[in-house]
Amino acid sequence: METESGYDPDLWRSLSEMGVVGLVVDEAQGGSGVGPVELEAVMEEVGAALLCSPLLASGVVAAELLKALGDKGVSERLLPEIAAGTSIATAVLTGDSGCWTEEGVTITGEIQDGGWQLSGDGSYVLHGQNADVLLVVANTDEGLAAFVAASSAEGVSIEALPTFDHTLRLAGISFDGVEADRIEASGSVWEAVRRAMDLALVALAGEQAGGAQKVLDFTVEYAKTRIQFGRQIGSFQAIKHMAANLLLETESAISAARHAASRLAQDSENRAEAVSLAAFACADAFVKTAADGIQMHGGIAFTWEHPAHLYLKRARADAQLFGTPAYHRERYLQELGA
């Protein structure tokens, strides 16, 4: 977590070998060929362990974006490397606004000397500092288009951004006339981005649910062992009631995350409703559980001797990626027809 790259290459290799990195990549391309349900389950573990890795960036967002864009040639070239973990890919979707919407796209693509060139400043790029391959969504004369560029290409400059959650890696990436290949999308580019982000949100929801569950577990355990006033602190109703409320939060988060995963897996009509519900319910549940968990531990949780704060930091970060809880509440209501 305190290294520059923010992940452990050995661990990354084993995750790849176990098939975790290529979870959603087809078997024909070296992946595990499973879907959102399995991904969500893995992400619950990721959240519990506060795993630091480019899994979300490369194995989820980039892989799903490539699949959804449906350019066979590009997919066949990139997905096997992504699944094998030998190449880390990430998507450049937004700029300084941090709005993961069509309006938030800041890069532009133009034809120069017969080839495409990208310009503009992207931000909030997950593991941008570790990426080999950049998938870039850009505005062009022909509307929104997707491109692939090497992170080592001329004109790309990558700046690691200082994140409050040290388990997270974000970068700002500037493009100055960068040569790139256009990805031939089989349908709407934004629709593909939306699919990739929905899978990312389900993954995050799993991570949040798993993180909340873990905090609740170690907090309840502590309440059973810590003695003040000659009794376990869990015998005080103040603590007991907080714990009960957190169980309600946590169980609801797990239900929401799993429900969204199965709706996504079935590609069901109300998938957007389920995803947006999970997005804000799990974000809020994780933040609340991590925050109350600190209060329930007392002074020990105000220090680095105890991991509770790491969970709060992760919870606060997860709550902002791919849209804020407020944004997802609005989307949820719209999906409900209001």
């Binding site: 006033f229 007392g298 002074g299 990626l321």
Partner: protein, 407 residues
């Protein structure tokens, strides 16, 4: 109010104004206003405070014998208001200086002569040696011991979460002096000299990445008998008085942002922040901002009413609400700041001062909701001591301390 009173108040007010006009020079004001928050006191500040104390403006309600003027509470207020009007620090210490008030109330003649003035002048640094690994909320469960040997006590034990221990000259220490009586009755309260070999201070890294608080290991530390406050084994009473001071000051103010980047002075910080982030028009945020500001305003109104009651001689139950209210204020303000910033709150560091502030304040809110007695303990105190609700049974209250159960 009689006109006599009125005119003597006018005379007093005039005297303070005059003194400030002569002494509170612009260069001092400038230096002090630019000081950063920290545990150590600058030379300029020390010199200023010394002047305030020697001129008897620091503790005017205290007796003449101890740097005071025997003024009434109302007159004390007049002095404070004049100081506040020109933003000069140092007045009102007879209300807010935890260390000096505790010493005045419980200290021996010799200790008061030695330390009262230095405390008022911030020449000595202090810390609170209360909490232990096994005794936080349940402070009466402490196991640090003090044993009398001739003209001093010998202290052994361990303290934790001791803010400022690394730079402290003295610590207000509670230690067990009788193990055969129930836990509240065998505790004594000391001013413990910190600069001696048996004190080992180990900093703890806080979640805010600062290291203001520490573990303190105490081995055969010597404390002169004259450093005992109150009678032997009545430390619990002294402690409760000191805690009341600490909690009431925690209910009145708290540490603000630390990025050092100025926030608007003309506007509520949350309003200014939302304006800057161009989200001030959003209805949900407007509601949240209004609510957060209202918590702060209502606490200030409560506190003003409590003080007015106090001046009329009726004690007010509102006083004990301040710390709990402040906890809610701080947590809610930090939450709304985060909400205003959205994705920008992911960052930290000097290039992202607004995010830095939102994140820092989110974490530092626990300083108030855990430090000085947790919110849960405050609610118990309010329920039991203010509302008179039945006390929770305390299983170990009447047992000799030797037989008490611990973690």
């Amino acid at each position: 109010m009689s006109s006599d009173n009125q005119s003597s108040n006018d005379v007093l007010r005039e005297e303070v104004r005059q003194w400030l006009a002569e002494n509170w020079r612009p260069e001092i004001a400038r230096t002090l206003s630019q000081e950063q928050y920290g545990w150590e006191t600058s030379e300029t500040r020390k010199a200023w405070l010394a002047n305030v104390v020697e001129s008897r403006w620091a503790v005017p309600r205290w007796p003449q014998q101890w740097y005071g003027r025997d003024l009434s509470d109302e007159q004390g207020k007049i002095v404070e208001r004049e100081f506040a009007a020109v933003r000069a620090p140092g007045a009102g210490q007879d209300r807010i200086n935890l260390w000096a008030n505790t010493l005045l109330a419980g200290g021996s003649q010799a200790l008061k002569e030695k330390l009262l003035a230095p405390l008022l002048k911030s020449e000595v640094n202090m810390c609170l040696l209360y909490s232990e690994p096994g005794a936080g909320s349940d402070l009466a469960g402490i196991r640090t011991r003090a044993d009398r040997q001739g003209d001093h006590y010998v202290i052994n034990g361990q303290k934790v979460w001791t803010s400022g221990a690394a730079v402290a000259d003295y610590g207000m220490l509670i230690a067990r002096t009788d193990w055969d009586v129930p836990k509240h009755r065998g505790i004594s309260f000391f001013f413990c000299p910190m600069k001696q070999p048996g004190i080992e201070v180990r900093p703890l890294r806080q979640i805010t990445d600062e290291s203001h608080f520490n573990e303190v290991f105490i081995t055969d530390v010597i404390v002169p008998v004259e450093n005992l406050l109150g009678e032997l084994n009545t430390g619990w009473q002294v402690l409760n008085m000191a805690l009341a001071y600490e909690r009431s000051s925690m209910g009145e103010s708290a540490r603000g942002p630390r990025s050092g980047v100025a926030e608007s002075r003309n506007e509520e910080p949350l309003v200014a922040l939302a304006r800057e982030a161009r989200v001030l028009a959003e209805p949900k945020l407007r509601q949240d901002i209004a609510q957060a500001i209202s918590y702060k305003r209502l606490n200030a109104l409560n506190s003003a009413r409590a003080k007015a009651d106090l001046e009329q001689g009726t004690s007010s139950s509102i006083m004990s609400l301040g710390k709990l209210a402040m906890s809610r204020i701080l947590h809610e303000e930090a939450r709304v700041r985060t909400e205003i910033l959205g994705a920008q709150s992911l960052f930290e560091g000097e290039h992202y001062p607004r995010a830095e502030d939102a994140n820092f304040l989110t974490l530092n809110a626990y300083f108030t909701s855990i430090g000085g007695g947790t919110d849960q303990i405050q609610r118990n105190i309010i329920g039991e001591r203010v509302l008179g609700l039945p006390k929770e049974p305390e299983v170990d209250k009447t047992v000799p301390f030797r037989d008490v159960r611990t973690s």
